[in-house]
Each structure stands twice: as C-alpha cells, then as structure tokens.
C-alpha cells in the first residue's frame, strides 16, 4: 500500500503512530507553535533569518522520529517551491527592466524558503498529532461539539469510504465498465456509475449513524462531558518557553537588528 519512493506532499500530513516526546505534547500547544512559526516566517523577508527558522525546526523533526515522512513532504512540496522561485525571479525580471540583480535571486530564495518553513511546520504538526488528539483539542478549545464530532467522524470514515469506492468500482467493472477508456468527456461520464452508489451509500450511512446517535442519548444535555482530558505537562511548558523565545527573538530582530543580506556578505551590490 506504500507508494515507495514516489511520495507526495500528502504523505507528510498523515499521522504516524510512534512514541516520541513530540507526539505526546498537547496538540493545542503544538498548534500555537505552528502559529508562532507562521508569524515569524511572515515577518521576515530576508533569507538568513528564514533559513535560521528552517534549521530551528529540525530538532523537532528528529525528536519526533518522523524524518522519512517529513522528507517526503518536502519532496512533494519541491515542485511548488520551484514554481514559487521561478515566479519570483520572473516578476523581478519584468519589473526591474529585464535584468536580474543579485538582490532578485536572494529575494526569490527568501520567498521559497518561507514556503518551505511553513510546509515544514505544518508537516511536523500533522505527522505527530493523531486525529483523535486533534478532535479532542477541538472539543476542549470550546469549539461547538458538533464541529469536532463532524471532524472525528469524517476521519473515522475515510478508510471505510475508500474501501467502498473500490468495491463499487469492482462491481461496475464486472459489468463491463471500462474506466480507463475513452476521451476526457467519456471518462467523466464513466464515473457516474461509481459516484452515484457512493453518494447513495453515504446518505444511507448518515441515516444509520443518526439513528445510532439518537439511540445513545445525543442531545441529552448541553453540558457534554468528556472521557479524556487534555492536560498540559512539563513538555508543553517547555514548548511554551521555546515559543516565547522564538517570538521574542523575532520581535527584537525585526525591530532592532539589521539583518545582513547574503549578497552583502559576499560583496555584491
């Protein structure tokens, strides 16, 4: 079922069940961390601070033991990153009178790095946070229960629906349906016998789920309790300290420090 070396950006977003200190951190704190990185990445325009930001996240990736999947997500994002780089270079080219200065290359690299930093942090977040942990975080963050319930139920049924889609395709192929044949329009029409049973089945399923929910006292009280409780531990406070540190350094650098550009370090204009 693994796609081997191919990899895609989605591989970097699927939760991996591994026991690591990062996995055990409170998802809410991890999310605050992602936001902090996001803010820092937005504030900086220059390549050096962004590169530093990239490097600061590496210890987390290693601690979480998700290097391989994380690398896969980067590989998947590589195409988009290249695209961003090219767009930036191209627009600088056009706006600076059809020539490229050292600063244009550096800016393009900075924008690309910013994208990579964002992908990197989101990837670590999703790789180390299980869907139920996420659902729990949503519940305890005073998001209305209907939303977190819809989220966890959707995640729970994704593999079920995927299997069902496969079964339906098999059933229709066994009646002579050829999904790969034909021009573009024909191929889209060929999916109707797959989509309709899938949709009808999803509707039927929802009805049965609703019946089961009603039968288990859904809506009994407004004050729903929870079997689990997310509690902040030492690790979470350590992460909080790191977040504060990152934000403080970011604010200080942004306001007071003149960040050297790479080109000036190398003696370019």
């Amino acid at each position: 079922m693994s796609r081997g070396l191919g990899g895609s950006v989605f591989d970097g977003l699927k939760f991996r069940k591994v026991s690591s200190p990062i996995h055990n951190l409170d998802p809410r704190m991890k999310f605050v961390y992602v936001i902090a990185i996001f803010v820092a990445a937005i504030l900086f325009n220059a390549i050096i601070p962004l590169a530093i930001l990239f490097v600061t996240q590496l210890p987390f990736v290693l601690l979480a033991r998700v290097q391989r999947q994380w690398l896969r997500s980067l590989r998947g994002a590589a195409f988009l990153a290249l695209f961003i780089f090219v767009i930036n270079v191209a627009s600088s080219f056009l706006t600076h009178g059809y020539r490229l200065l050292a600063m244009d290359w550096e800016n393009a690299a900075a924008m690309t790095m910013r994208f990579v930093v964002l992908v990197e942090s989101f990837s670590v977040f999703f790789l180390t946070t299980s869907p139920d942990h996420l659902g729990l975080a949503l519940e305890q963050s005073h998001v209305p229960y209907e939303f977190s319930f819809a989220f966890t139920t959707a995640v729970r049924f994704v593999p079920v629906l995927a299997e069902e889609a496969q079964t339906i395709m098999d059933a229709q192929k066994a009646r002579g349906l050829e999904l790969e044949k034909g021009n573009f329009m024909k191929r889209i029409r060929n999916y109707v016998p797959v989509l309709i049973p899938l949709i009808v089945s999803a509707i039927r399923r929802s009805l049965e789920l609703a019946e089961a929910m009603e039968s288990r006292a859904w809506g009994a009280t407004k004050k729903r309790t929870n079997l689990y409780a997310l509690k902040l531990h030492k690790g979470d406070y350590a992460l909080l300290a790191i977040i504060i540190l990152i934000l403080a350094v970011t604010a200080y650098s942004f306001l007071f420090v003149h960040v050297p550009t790479v080109r000036s370090l190398f003696g370019f204009a």
Partner: protein, 274 residues
C-alpha cells in the same frame, strides 16, 4: 471451464492472502466456496473475472489466461453478483439498470430490449420496469442486481454471500432459482458461510482456510466432517449436529437431509413404517 494453477496472491508485500490454490471448475458445476471471514474466499473468486490478477500462478477462463485480457472481456463469461446490490444500482429506472452491462458490451438496441424483457420476467420484477431501483425494497433490489448480471447470459455466475439478510422464504426462492440456472447448464459458484443453505443445496463444497483449500468434495461428506469444519471455524448443519451428538454406532454421521434423517431415526427407534 475454469482452471486455477497454484495461485498465489498478496495484497501488499507482507500479507499473502492466497497461498497456492489449485482448482478446476467444469462447465455446469455448482460449487460452494466456504470458509471463515478472512480465509480468502472473496479474494479467490475475484480472480475468476480478472478483478485481481495472480502474484504467481495461473488462472485460465475457457483457455484464456486472465492476465492476458481485460476484466470487461472476462466479465462476458463470468458474471459476478456482489453482496450488496446498492454497490451496483445507479440508474433512473430498472430497465436502464439491466441494460447497463449490455450497452457496455456493445449489444444492438433491439437485442438489449429483448434481453431486458427476458431479465425482468425471469426475476419477477416486470412491474417495476419503469421504477427507480432506489424505490424498491431490499429483496427487490437484490433481484434487480441479479437480473442486470444475468441479462448478458454469462456462462458462469458467481454469487458473493447471496443469503445475507434474507429471510427463510427468500433463501428458498434463491435455492430454487439456482437449481433452475443449473438445469439451463450454467456454472454457478456461491461464496457463503451459510451452512444450512449449502446443506439444502448439497453442491460440491470447496472449504478454504488461511488462504488454502482445506477440503474439496461432495457437500454431504464435507459438511458432516466435524474435524475439518471445526478447523475452518464452521459449524455443522443442524441435522448433522443431531447425528454427531447421538454418536450412535448404528447411525451414519453423514446425514444432512431431513427426510433421510427421519427414516434413519425411525428405524433406530424400531418404529415400523410402510
């Protein structure tokens, strides 16, 4: 004629679902493939119409290797009725549903019309021709699914768990319908764990366990072999259970028919019958 030679199949690199299955099904045979969930029954039959291709070994349908042809081509010979009819139904009317495969196979429209007519009459759903299949009851939808597969008159019919959710009368109807198909020369393969139904039909039984064939023979023999059934996590049919529990040296153990049981027990009791 279906020939399977040393079939091995793995879904992914580490789980081997079929570990060397060899089987021959002659034209006109009636075979029940039984076994626990996970024994590999459905995996096996999906090779019959090419939905799955062997990891190693060969599957030949009427002399053609399944790896050398498409599912659509094989489907003309092997009709597959899936467990849940709702996985097939999508058309606006029953007619269109039955015509679907016929259109896929490129039949002319007058032929399609005749076959649809034949199909609805065969399954007793003529009154629903213009009805939406979604409006029908569960049993009726099963019949639409069956009609839509029989419409192109495949030589072999594979039914995956056809007795699930069916009441006593529906199962009896199904049994008689299969007999009818048999008398028309069709090869019928059913995948099931319903021992009582199989006992009533008394077909050839192929028992699977952990990806291999554990037993292959006459229904009566296999369904009364307590040891073999237990190893495959299957329960004896109730009549056979009675004889197994009586454990009487005068009484045979391979009884699955209720009338035969009656005669034997009356004889044992010394009751005189005409």
């Amino acid at each position: 004629m279906l020939i399977i030679e040393n079939l091995h199949f793995s879904y992914s690199s580490n789980i081997e679902a079929l570990k060397g299955v060899s089987l021959t099904v002659k034209d006109g045979e009636f075979v029940a493939i039984m076994g626990q969930n996970g024994a590999g029954k459905t995996t096996l039959v999906k090779h019959f119409n090419g939905l799955l291709k062997p990891t190693s070994g060969r599957v030949l349908v009427d002399g053609v290797e399944t790896t050398k042809t498409s599912v659509a081509a094989l489907a003309r010979t092997v009709g597959f009725v899936f467990q849940n009819p709702d996985h097939q139904l999508f058309s606006e009317t029953v007619e269109e549903e039955i015509a679907f495969a016929l259109k896929n196979f490129g039949y002319a429209s007058d032929v399609i019309e005749k076959r649809v007519e034949w199909g609805v009459n065969l399954l007793g759903i003529a009154q629903y021709r213009k009805t939406s299949p979604f409006m029908l009851s569960g049993g009726e939808r099963k019949r639409v699914a069956l009609a839509s597969v029989l419409a192109w008159d495949p030589k072999m019919l594979v039914l995956d768990e056809p007795t699930i959710g069916q009441d006593h009368q529906q199962k009896e109807n199904l049994r008689q319908f299969i007999m009818q198909l048999q008398s028309q020369g069709k090869t019928v393969v059913i995948v099931t764990h319903d021992v009582e139904f199989v006992a009533e039909c008394n077909p050839r039984v192929v028992l699977m366990r952990e990806g291999q064939i554990a037993a292959d023979g006459e229904g009566k023999e296999i369904l009364t072999n307590k040891k073999v059934l237990e190893e495959s996590s299957i329960v004896l049919p109730q009549i056979a259970q009675v004889f197994s529990q009586l454990n009487d040296p005068d009484l045979p153990k391979d009884v699955i028919d209720i009338y035969e049981a009656k005669k034997l027990l009356l004889k044992k009791l010394g009751v005189v019958t005409e």
